[in-house]
């Protein structure tokens, strides 16, 4: 594929969604560098994350300007400092910057929004975050009836079905599956286990 701006081969491909419109850019190394689009193959994820943040805007996500001045009440780290260093100042920063961090996390963690996995057996809530009462962004409106790990498993199966439908060129079916995945991800389609598993004890 040729570069959008010259005759060289395009090596950098960027796809962004703006107001539901898919925008594709195909650039060669030089044009990409001139336009400030830098891609480092196999770059460590925190460097990429830092790159997104220092650019100020991640595609489709507006960074709220006034939040730049807000600081974590515990350690006084500002979001601007975080953007510079890529490191948080204390565990409470996660709550202080929740609104800005969640979309970044979702992107850096390739869609992962919620912890699935081990939990400390003995959990003191002091200093630990509790679930936000009003999640700012990207949280399902109705909590899923399935534990998140199971929900992820269902979603993984659906994504596989989607891939296989696309591979077999069954596009109508693929579109249906895609919509269902979106529904489950948004919480619009609640997942309910056929028979309720026994309640898991031990973890608050």
């Amino acid at each position: 594929m040729k570069c959008d701006h010259c005759d060289r081969d395009a090596t950098v491909h960027e796809v962004t969604m703006r107001n539901g419109v898919r925008i594709e850019k195909h650039l060669c190394d030089q044009c990409a560098a001139q336009r400030g689009v830098t891609v480092q193959p196999n770059a460590p994820i925190n460097e990429l994350l830092k790159q997104f943040m220092t650019q100020g805007i991640t595609p489709g996500i507006q960074v709220v300007p006034q939040s730049r001045q807000s600081a974590c009440p515990t350690c006084k780290l500002t979001f601007a400092e975080f953007k510079q260093q890529g490191m948080l100042g204390c565990p409470d920063c996660y709550r202080a910057f929740e609104g800005q961090l969640l979309p970044l996390l979702e992107r850096a963690q390739e869609g992962g929004q919620e912890h699935a996995g081990k939990r400390p057996r003995r959990m003191t809530m002091s200093g630990s975050l509790t679930p936000a009462p009003q999640p700012v962004l990207a949280a399902p409106k109705t909590p899923p009836a399935l534990p998140s790990a199971d929900r992820e498993r269902v979603l993984a199966t659906m994504r596989k079905a989607l891939e296989s439908a696309v591979a077999q060129e069954k596009y109508e079916l693929a579109a249906k599956i895609r919509d269902q995945i979106k529904g489950v991800e948004d919480g619009a389609i609640p997942l309910v286990p056929a028979t309720r598993p026994p309640t898991q004890g031990g973890t608050p």
């Binding site: 460590p44 994820i45 350690c75 490191m87 850096a108 003995r122």
Partner: protein, 382 residues
């Protein structure tokens, strides 16, 4: 160039002690023709305690004291040694980095970019399977290493240590986001699980790029010998999970151990078979040239030596280079010996071999001399 560097006979007793550890170089276990080692790392932080960039030196010291006391009294089923890194001499710190027991940034004081930043490491002795770094980027980093493809075992080890520490320490944890870490890219499980692979076949056939692209599409990351940002020198690659939020430890483990890694291992074996079948003479030439370099060169950089050792290793596992049957008891040319040499040619280890600090130029001489002395006469040219 100084070519009259004295090369004292290494203190064999001292070196054999160093050889005994280094679990990742043992060459034991499953799929060791391709998989050097399996590694699991857990990032953990103390509740109500500032991370490195906002902590004072007193905070850091307190974290160090709390964690060290807890680790040493946790009743872990191993014999532990503790080392304060801020007071340790830089050469010894570099040796720990070369043995993959601490990270390079931890050696330098990553948290605050200050060499005197209070920090330390607890090591299981003598097997070096467990290393718990204190005051690295996170307050605690639990690392478990096993030789060969043994991720389940490494995970069980790390999980057990984590349970025992957690019984005494309050971790920073959010029910929604999981274990809270200094860098948000580790939040969730705080888990990095991966293997160190020797992939000369895939490099020589040019298929390695496909593996990298495939890994990229599966939220995995392929890195070099010394981790983040390092080159894949000596055809050694680390493949590990990239994301930590949304997938449980079990899911990551199953994906890597049952699906991805066996496929890469098989892919490498197929590449080696193809090279033997279709480019045998070319391959023979390369591995024997490497042998010639290691047994005859007078100056060798670390990278040159690692590249040659990689090819010789390939020659040994494919049967192109045959170990000579020793007429008297002595070292034989084995994967384990080559692994150990890989470690001892690293700058800090080499200085330990020589017994004093030497500069880069002197190291090139010492490295070539050391390799000649260890390898000469061990292979049979049919």
């Amino acid at each position: 160039m100084n070519d009259d560097v004295p090369f004292p006979a290494p203190n064999e007793g001292d070196l054999s002690a160093l050889e005994r550890g280094a679990e990742w170089l043992k060459g034991e276990g499953e799929s060791t023709d391709v998989v050097f080692s399996s590694r699991v790392r857990l990032a953990r932080n103390l509740a109500n305690t500032r991370f490195a960039i906002k902590a004072t030196k007193a905070d850091r010291q307190q974290t160090l004291d709390t964690c060290r006391d807890c680790i040493m009294k946790a009743g872990l089923d191993v014999s532990l040694a503790w080392a304060d890194l801020h007071t340790m001499n830089p050469l010894d710190r570099s040796m720990l980095v070369e043995r993959h027991l601490i990270s390079k940034p931890h050696s330098k004081g990553r948290g605050t970019n200050q060499a005197d930043d209070p920090r330390g490491v607890a090591l299981s002795a003598p097997d070096e399977r467990l290393a718990i770094m204190v005051n690295e980027e996170d307050h605690l980093r639990i690392q478990c290493i096993r030789s060969g493809l043994a991720l389940s075992q490494a995970w069980r080890d790390a999980d057990t240590v984590d349970d025992k520490l957690e019984a005494q320490l309050d971790y920073a944890f959010s029910p929604r986001l999981g274990y809270l870490t200094a860098c948000p890219t580790n939040v969730g499980t705080g888990l990095r699980m991966g293997v160190m692979l020797h992939l000369p076949g895939l490099r020589l056939t040019g298929e390695i790029e496909k593996v990298k692209r495939a890994a990229d599409g599966m939220s995995l990351v392929v890195r070099g010998f010394y981790g983040e940002g390092s080159e894949a020198v000596g055809d050694l690659f680390q493949i590990s999970n990239q994301t930590t939020l949304g997938r449980s430890e079990g899911e990551v483990l199953r994906m890597l151990e049952l699906e991805i890694i066996p496929k890469v291992v098989e892919y490498e074996r197929v590449s080696r078979r193809e090279l033997l079948a279709k480019r045998r003479v070319g391959l023979e030439d390369q591995v024997w040239r490497a042998w010639g370099e290691l047994t005859h060169a007078r100056l060798l950089t670390t990278d040159e030596a690692m590249r040659a050792l990689s090819l010789v290793q390939l020659g040994v596992v494919t049967g192109l280079i045959r170990p000579r049957t020793p007429s008297a008891p002595g070292p034989t040319l084995t994967a384990r010996l080559l692994h150990m040499l890989l470690l001892f040619i690293q700058p800090a280890h080499l200085q330990r071999v020589v017994g004093r600090e030497i500069n880069q130029e002197q190291r090139r001489v010492a490295r070539a001399t050391f390799l000649r002395s260890r390898l000469m006469g061990l292979a049979e040219d049919r």
